[in-house]
């Protein structure tokens, strides 16, 4: 049918461009109450008393609940879904994460009480009347301070604020390689904390139906089934089958809507207490304070090169700031999603990484678009570029000479890294060559040399980033062995209706990725039906069998493959029906373009006729069940490994320190591509997110733990006039272990772009004597670096 590889316009767009999207806050249930949270203004404080008397008596207030109320009702704490044990073998320290703090608050924004009222405004007003008697304690904010002697301790049972430490690779071999290296490049820096900022603030509505003893939770989540499982089994102790979780249209996630949040528990539990729906919508201030943050590593890296520029060893030591509690997947982000990627694209024979996770009095940190892999890529690509600058080598050439040679994972085996993973397939040189050609590398270097010679104040820089990431998470047995407390398969139900129309129930969740189009293309191709004949249902635990949700660029590789598996079963059963109706042997049939044909004849029967026969089985194979519907669960054989080469061209205004991104070329290899338009959109958004980190975004806390970048006046998101138009292209190295040959495209840009931008700025300023710059590269920082260097 040729629909795979076509830039089909998105079927979901009609509702969004006409204002008919249905986000959680758009749902208005009859008789609803509205919730406001009382949140800690202190980063660290003991709670002596919570007085709700005045709030409870305020206009319109229906009820007020505190941490003590929840404790008395037996409500549990928020669970962590990943266990990373200490290097010593000791078990991860896992302190309680209360839904409402009862005795102690540990970050600004930690919730203490919930007020329910007839209107949002009344709830907000009454929340102001709750009097909390705090005894303020010293706070610890920076990762590097958390383990210092005498540092404030967040939990009595977590010594040194350290819930786990972790290592991977051969330390002795790495140390030896570095000791004998001809040149060692060393960097020490912060990969700064970011705040996710999906434009839709989080929202949750709880609705208890006493007549059925049944709960519905509407929530802006990337994975409704996971939320239901965590909330029912670990927090509220409710029977899972009595709880429905719906994630309708979701306005961006970027990781921040994966996690199980306190407000989801609160609206569900409170709705039962008062017998009415409860709705909570975050303000932007609450989003800044309570959406799980991302990154926040302090890292020292040493890269050793021999006299010819071959990498001989890489040593990485990182302290990862986890914030005040272990968020749902927090422990895996700075470990298994980070350390395992430090081989990069290179043949470095010795790699060792050492990570310490620490608690601080800040918002919890968890996965944010890329999750660990942008941090790993920054380690490698900043350091490799620095080594090129230090040793006077061309950064493209230095990378090329150290690349792992091409392998397809079929004829040639996958590549076994020094840090646990086996890459599926890759052709790294091809992506870099294509990017160099696209940007016109030689001409650019000539222009740069001319500008330098002319001394005309044009500081042009060219920066590279050649990255790899692990996506399509993941084989359940593998992640289970690594500490995951969940499987990471995906499910898909494919229902062929009697008229041959197809309804797909996927456990993946779209919050902008365009599943309703991409998955429809996969089904149209697989069953030979029209795209308009396919409907994709997601985001509702009542209709979808099960689902692990969307994150880690896994939807098509894992969720899409589950759909293919179900279609295979449909075609297998359909062939039996077709053979019966055609009075032919099953093995003589072939299925193509929506019909079964007896090979070598013009005898055929259309998919729709077989579907009808399955539901009107008057003339039907003996012993075969009626109906044409299958559900499959797909557990991948390996991660997928997208990769690519990004090149940024910047111009720095030395007078003001302003960095202008002049060009940005991205050549990504995401395996086979189903919808190029959608993939390009994902790449654009990812690059922008990464440019945000490189140039603009930073969560800043003061020493007392106040978030001083807690609004859009202080936290800088990239705007339309900050950015260039992007130049994107692809190489295609299919994934050898899934039937679609796809690798995942949601995070490539975010992973690749930060070092490309920073490297470009350093390349521009190297002749001025600037040797390092810390993200974000604000005009002030760049200007100061220039002044200090000259």
């Amino acid at each position: 049918m040729g629909v795979i590889g076509q830039s089909i316009k998105r079927v979901e767009d009609q509702r969004f461009i006409t204002g008919k999207g249905r986000y959680t806050d758009d749902i208005a249930l009859p008789n609803s109450t509205f919730a406001a949270l009382v949140r800690s203004p202190h980063a660290h404080a003991a709670i002596n008393n919570v007085d709700t008397t005045a709030a409870a008596a305020a206009d319109g207030v229906v009820a007020v609940f505190t941490g003590a109320d929840l404790e008395a009702a037996g409500v549990g704490g928020l669970p962590c879904g990943w266990q990373v044990d200490f290097k010593s073998g000791d078990t991860m320290k896992e302190p309680a994460h209360p839904v409402l703090a009862a005795t102690k608050v540990r970050h600004v924004g930690d919730p203490v009480a919930i007020v329910l009222a007839e209107s949002r405004e009344q709830a907000a007003d009454a929340a102001e009347l709750v009097v909390v008697d705090y005894e303020v304690l010293d706070a610890v904010v920076a990762a590097t301070q958390a383990t210092a002697e005498g540092a404030p301790q967040l939990f009595d049972d977590v010594p040194n604020n350290t819930p786990f430490d972790w290592e991977l690779g051969d330390q002795a071999a790495t140390d030896a390689a570095l000791a004998s290296a001809a040149h060692v490049t060393t960097l020490e820096y912060d990969n700064q904390r970011l705040i996710p900022n999906a434009i839709e603030p989080r929202c949750a509505i709880g609705d208890y139906d006493g007549a059925r003893d049944h709960y519905t939770l509407y929530t802006s989540s990337q994975n409704p089934h996971v939320i239901r499982l965590l909330m029912t089994a670990f927090v509220l102790g409710l029977p899972e089958h009595k709880v429905r979780v719906v994630s309708p249209d979701v306005g961006g996630g970027f990781g921040s809507k994966i996690f199980h949040y306190a407000e989801e528990v609160l609206v569900t539990w409170c709705s039962r207490q008062i017998g009415r729906p409860v709705k909570w919508t975050a303000s932007r201030s609450e989003a800044f304070l309570t959406d799980a943050h991302g990154r926040d590593h302090h890292t020292r890296v040493d890269l050793g090169l021999d006299a010819d520029g071959n990498f001989v060893g890489l040593r990485v030591k990182t302290v990862a700031n986890l914030g005040a509690y272990l968020s749902t997947f927090a422990p895996c982000v700075p470990t298994y999603l980070y350390g395992t990627l430090l081989q990069g694209l290179y043949t470095t024979p010795a790699v060792h990484v050492d990570v310490t996770g620490v608690f601080t009095n800040t918002t919890p940190v968890d996965a944010l678009r890329g999750a660990g892999r942008p941090e790993a890529t920054y380690v490698l690509e900043r350091t490799v570029e620095q080594a090129a600058l230090e040793t006077g080598r061309d950064p493209a050439q230095l990378r090329s000479q150290n690349f792992i040679p091409a392998f397809d994972g079929v004829e040639q085996e996958g590549y076994q890294t020094q840090v646990a993973l086996q890459y599926d397939s890759g052709n790294y040189g091809a992506a870099l060559e294509k990017a160099l050609a696209a940007i016109g590398y030689d001409e650019l270097r000539a222009e740069q040399a001319q500008a330098r010679a002319a001394g005309n104040g044009r500081h042009i820089g060219i920066g590279f980033s050649t990255y790899i990431e692990a996506c399509g998470i993941a084989p359940s047995a593998v992640v289970g062995a690594l500490g995951a407390r969940a499987g990471l398969f995906e499910s898909a139900g494919v229902r062929v209706q009697p008229t041959g129309k197809v309804t797909v129930f996927t456990g993946s969740h779209s919050h902008g990725q365009g599943h309703e189009t991409t998955f429809a293309q996969v089904v149209a191709d697989g069953l030979g039906v029209g795209i308009e004949d396919v409907d994709i249902i997601h985001g509702d635990t009542e209709s979808v069998p099960f689902g692990m949700g969307t994150y880690g660029s896994r939807s098509l590789a894992v969720g899409g493959t589950a759909i293919v598996k179900s279609m295979d079963k449909i075609k297998e059963k359909g062939a039996k029906i077709a053979a019966h109706l055609l009075e032919a042997a099953e093995e003589d049939l072939e299925f193509a373009e929506g019909s079964w044909t007896v090979k070598g004849t013009d005898q055929s029967i259309a998919f729709g006729e077989v579907a009808l026969a399955a539901y009107v089985p008057h003339n039907f194979p003996e012993g075969l069940e009626p109906g044409l519907e299958f559900t499959s669960f797909y557990d991948p054989a390996n991660f997928t490994f997208p990769f690519g080469a990004h090149i940024a061209v910047v111009e720095v205004d030395a007078e003001t320190g302003v960095v202008a991104v002049r060009r940005y070329v991205a050549v990504d290899d995401v395996g086979n591509i189903v919808n190029p338009m959608i993939v390009e959109g994902q790449v654009h958004g990812g690059i922008t997110h990464g440019i945000g980190q490189a140039l603009f975004e930073e969560a800043v806390y003061d020493d007392s733990g106040q978030l001083i970048s807690g609004s859009y006046m202080d936290y800088v998101l990239p705007r339309a006039d900050d950015l260039p138009s992007f130049e994107t292209d692809h190489t295609v190295t299919p994934c050898p272990h899934n039937p679609l040959g796809v690798k995942g495209a949601g995070e490539t840009g975010t992973i690749g772009s930060p070092p490309a931008i920073v490297n470009a700025v350093l390349d521009a300023l190297w002749p001025l004597g600037v040797r390092d710059l810390a993200m974000p590269l604000t005009p002030q920082k760049v200007w100061q670096a220039i002044q200090q260097a000259s």
Binding site: D13, T18, I199, V250, G251, G685, T688, M713, P718, S725
Partner: protein, 154 residues
């Protein structure tokens, strides 16, 4: 403690008693059920709530409903005429100018204002005109293309 207002929204006249502190966006969303206008920040930074008030693109999260008395308002739901999409709506679909869709109504309204004032903007002018509207998904590139596409097809 309430204020009587009369507004025309998408061609329909409404009369309501509103609280003096009620914002226009909550009036549109909660009283009139026009949930296409979104709240992203309630501080007039993100632009998700942009609607057209008396011919001007306004961030209605920081305008009081009471201030809209007598106003003529167009929201995203009222942009299509007689079932035909506005060229901007078509263009956003055509160029993949949206992903999650949350910023899209505000973005379209801000772009509508630009094209009213400047029918043939340069790319830089489009970028400048939309710098008050955040999009976290698209990287803006395809939004710029959408506005240019609409300008060409108008």
């Amino acid at each position: 403690m309430s204020v009587a207002i009369k507004v025309t929204v998408n061609g329909q006249t409404h009369e309501h008693e509103v609280e003096p502190r009620q914002m226009l966006v909550s009036y549109l969303r909660e009283e009139l059920g026009l949930t296409g206008t979104h709240v992203g920040c309630d501080t007039s930074n993100c632009g998700a709530c942009t609607a057209i008030v008396d011919g001007q693109a306004v961030k209605v999260c920081t305008m009081l409903a009471a201030q809209a008395d007598g106003a003529e308002i167009t929201t995203i739901e009222g942009l299509a005429a007689n079932g035909t999409l506005h060229p901007l709506q078509e263009a956003f679909r055509e160029t993949h100018g949206l992903q999650c869709g949350f910023c899209t109504p505000g973005m379209i309204m801000a772009a509508w204002q630009l094209l009213e004032r400047n029918a043939t903007p340069s790319d830089a002018e489009v970028r400048h005109a939309l710098e008050g509207n955040f999009c976290r998904c698209t990287g803006y590139d395809n939004i710029i293309k959408a506005v240019q596409h609409a300008a060409e097809s108008a």
